[in-house]
Symmetry: C2
Subunit: 250 residues, 2 copies
């Protein structure tokens, strides 16, 4: 949404949009990237529209490149949101009414069917950048997120549910953790996604049983307590587990 | 697609469609429901369009009710197909050119973005019914399916991949098998989805370890060999495994 509003109807496919739930892990918290609308100050997921020569995947990559500066992001379609009333009362319209931009108001009055994507990004490398309608683009910890505009709370909730379910049978972490990490850091990532505490020994036993971790000789230094060992992902096994699941195929 | 073509543009949302991969299990084979186009005799997946007051889920249920007579079908979105060129050379257009139906030709010349659904249905209860453009609606065993029209082969392949991956961590069979079934019948279902043979003892051990089966006192009668025991799904555990995966949650 970097373009000026009055050219939307020429640039993009009608009544189709995409919304991205961008997750990053920082400070032992799962965070999500949000935009603040200029006038209404509503918070929203980053999103955009689809050009006539784009697939949805290409459009989503373009939008995320604009919002984070990052290319080559781990990005996945997870659901279509097609409630006929979902795009009513779009706060963007109230912004536009002040500008008396009729063509654009009509565009945003359409029924939009939105494709939900979720993305896992390296928090430290992203450079959050607002779009045309927003004055702020920032990371929010999940427990700090209040009601979002339109059905974006529902889209965020569904993305999180998808991620939680995948924790039961697919590996996660490669796009969210630094190259080397400790078992407590990995556990913290799981706990923040699941929203609950896990038993330390059970967690370690289950994680090691998957064969997706290499234990390194090094230990993490600088902490107050006994220095914990560092791990890295075994990328071959990690990729295979992404394909067939953590428990193997038939 | 029961309506006459010239009313499409008034009834449905532009450039959006859905395609359904309907799986049924019969005669030890995984079968898929296909339509044969009236004039070109191309085979296609059942599909349709979305009305202004429908969600995609409601539209897909309506289409499947029209094609099979069945309501309350196990139906799941699995992917959007949005290649900008995917709906070029639609064989339906050549049918319509003979009828000189200009409004409708324009409709089918649009770029369609299609939402793929897959459905698992009870083969014995479905009543295959052609739509306006087809003269036949029939079940085809997977290994009998030749090239389908447009990108429908790709949609079918992707649905099958999704199903295969889910076999690694989710239960399957409740919508495809009779209420009571034998272990060889269940194994045959897995083999036909996976397209390969499985070891009988490993299969039985792994299936029983999931806790989703109740072994019955009855045996299947009428076969030439020793009568095998009958099983039924333990629906409570089956539903739970659908939610958190066969290996449990964190």
């Amino acid at each position: 949404m970097n373009q000026k509003p009055n050219v939307y109807q020429d640039l993009f496919l009608n009544h189709l949009s995409l919304d991205c739930v961008v997750f990053g892990f920082h400070d032992s918290q799962l965070k999500v990237l949000l935009l603040r609308m200029k006038r209404t100050k509503d918070w929203a997921l980053p999103g955009g529209f689809v050009k006539p020569d784009e697939t949805f995947e290409v459009a989503a990559s373009r939008v995320l490149k604009e919002r984070t500066g990052l290319g080559d992001i781990f990005l996945k379609q997870f659901k279509i949101f097609s409630d006929p009333l979902r795009s009513q009362n779009n706060p963007i319209v109230s912004d536009l009414e002040e500008e008396k931009d009729k063509g654009c108001i009509e565009w945003f009055h359409q029924r939009f069917i939105s494709v939900g994507f979720y993305a896992l990004v390296d928090f430290s490398k992203a450079e959050p950048t607002p779009d045309f309608f927003s004055d702020q683009c920032s990371w929010k910890a999940l427990d700090e997120v209040d009601a979002l505009m339109l059905d974006h709370t529902q889209i965020l909730t569904k993305a999180l549910e998808t991620l939680r379910l995948q924790l039961n049978y697919q590996p996660i972490g490669y796009n969210l953790l630094p190259d080397k990490f400790t078992m407590p850091e990995l556990q913290k990532l799981y706990e923040t996604i699941l929203g609950k505490e896990l038993d330390r020994r059970n967690f370690q036993r289950r994680m090691l049983s998957y064969g997706i971790l290499n234990k390194l000789e090094e230990r993490k230094t600088g902490g107050a307590h006994k220095s914990p060992f560092l791990y890295e992902f075994n990328l071959g096994n990690y990729q295979k587990a992404l394909q067939v699941g953590l428990y193997g195929g038939w």
